[in-house]
């Protein structure tokens, strides 16, 4: 994968656990040697596996906020912040900016999760780095404090004028904190763009599941998308490899073969049933697996249980098609 980060934008690297996000971040910081590839900052090669060039971490001007913050437990908060910038006065300024002045002489262990995160951010920013890397900045917090800390973090991120890259597996975090998303799976970049671009046109099962839509991949063939040996009628399908998205709300379920206009009708078997608030999501197994969203009342009326045979229908105009 290859990407360029610009000043003035916050980029989130989004992906499931084990996608290699943290590994990538550590490699950018020089904490893990590159097996192949290059890291370039402002035109200066920091590392190039091909030539063996390597600028050590301590000379890269990269601030790093670690997942569990890693504040040095044997130093006070102000000593932690002063560690990189080598100035107590500057450290105190940063603590004031972060609202932590009264904890200056406290040990990190005495701070709450959100305060620790601000202290870690102050420590990373105090030396004035060109790049700020954040690894799952909110993962160590409990749910009750996360929203407030996220708001603070967004403000502090926008105050920093360098290159900002954060890693997260939480789509909400990515969408609220970042201007641009890079979706990463199994060590590869699968998609990149603004939150709207990514969520409207998912290009992987992972993103489709995050957004909660049915994602099909197949070959467009004049008004249909061929998925394996099946064919799904789709308005706008022309030719070439395409993705097709069907929102679960557009998928209707029936006991008997439905009459009328829907072009896509087939029989399947109910798999898992999941209740989400006032909605129920039913996974329908079959040649083209689909998730349908219905009301619990409809679910009761259909008498659906796992394993029941059921008819699926949706309109060709409810299928959004775009090139793969």
């Amino acid at each position: 994968m290859q990407f360029t980060l610009e000043e003035g934008e916050v980029v989130a690297l989004l992906g499931p656990n084990g996608a290699g996000k943290t590994t990538l971040l550590r490699a950018i910081a020089g904490l893990l040697p590159l097996a192949s590839g290059r890291v370039v900052l402002d035109g200066r090669v920091l590392e190039d596996a091909a030539t063996g060039a390597y600028v050590p971490t301590e000379e890269r001007s990269i601030g790093f906020v670690f997942q569990d913050y890693l504040l040095f437990p044997h130093m006070s908060v102000v000593e932690n912040v002063a560690f990189g910038v080598r100035s107590r006065a500057v450290a105190v300024e940063w603590l004031e900016r972060m609202g932590l002045a009264r904890y200056a002489s406290a040990r990190p262990a005495a701070l709450s999760g959100g305060e620790r995160q601000r202290a870690a951010l102050a420590r990373a920013l105090a030396p004035g780095p060109r790049v700020l890397l954040l690894d799952e900045p909110l993962a160590a917090l409990d749910a009750s404090t996360r929203a407030g800390v996220r708001r603070d973090l967004k403000a502090h991120l926008s105050a920093f004028r360098g290159v900002r890259l954060l890693v997260t597996h939480d789509p909400l975090e990515a969408v609220t904190l970042a201007d641009r998303l890079i979706v990463m799976e199994e060590g590869k970049q699968v998609q990149s763009g603004t939150a709207v671009e990514v969520t409207e046109r998912p290009r992987s099962r992972y993103v489709a599941d995050l957004v909660g839509v049915n994602l099909l991949r197949g070959r467009a063939d004049h008004g249909a998308v061929r998925v394996g040996s099946a064919s799904v009628a789709a308005a706008g399908a022309d030719s070439g490899e395409v993705f097709a998205v069907v929102h679960p709300r557009a998928v209707a379920l029936h006991r008997a073969r439905p009459e009328g206009s829907p072009r896509n009708v087939w029989q399947g078997r109910a798999g898992g049933i999941e209740l989400m608030g006032d909605r129920a999501r039913v996974r329908i197994e079959g040649e083209v697996p689909m998730v349908a969203e219905v009301t619990p009342a409809a679910l009761a009326e259909l008498g659906l249980v796992e394993g029941s045979a059921v008819w699926v229908s949706f309109k060709a105009t409810d299928v959004a098609v775009y090139p793969a």
Partner: protein
Amino acid sequence: MRREKAPVWIGLLAALGAAFFIIPLVGLVVRTPWGDAARSLTSADTLDALRLSLIASLSATAVALVLGVPLAWIYARIDFPGRAVVRALTTLPMVLPPVVGGIALLLAFGRRGLLGSWLAMVGVSLPFTTAGVVLAETFVAMPFLVLTVEAGLRSMDRRYEDAARTLGASRWTVFTRVTLPLIAPSVLAGAVLCWARALGEFGATITFAGNFPGVTQTMPLAVYLLLETDPQGSFVLSLILLMVSLLVLVGLRHRWLGSA
């Protein structure tokens, strides 16, 4: 933990095992002539031995710290060819009969030893000197420090070092300001163990440094020799060494005896 009743035979053998340790210690305490203790303690020879023991064992611990912590760091962090062999050789004194260690030291640093003949040319002679005592004690005791510190280095969270590096710290700054403070408990435990071992050193010391009162005669040597001339005095000195050992054990109980 579930309360369990011990089977009779296991209980008996275990009690025998415990008594094996407790009875000699009780004997030492009971048979020590407390009335003579003050006299024995203040005799010139005893004070000399005590002073020499403290100086030599503390010096040995200092040498072990200066050389042993870097050695432990290398063992824990650097993968070099032959590491297992070097590590085994430097651990050997823990299991080697100390007398053999003393002879090995003579062959290396003695007047005609591998290095000793070179040292003699510049006028340095180690055998039968106080420096020789320190050398013998370091040889026997340093492995305890190295192994303890190495274990501490292996179990510490290395990401703190990563964090320090992203903050622009050089490798040396990382070591002194982050690594060392984080493994301080291990260094302290290793130093105390090393010191206790050096304080009790007998075999290597008497072999390499001999037994000259005031120069190389440490407490364990004095105890052994007093047994012939003044048994009462040797009991008192033994008790002092026992007290020191007990203090070390109590001080380290959380590390070595669990919370029991």
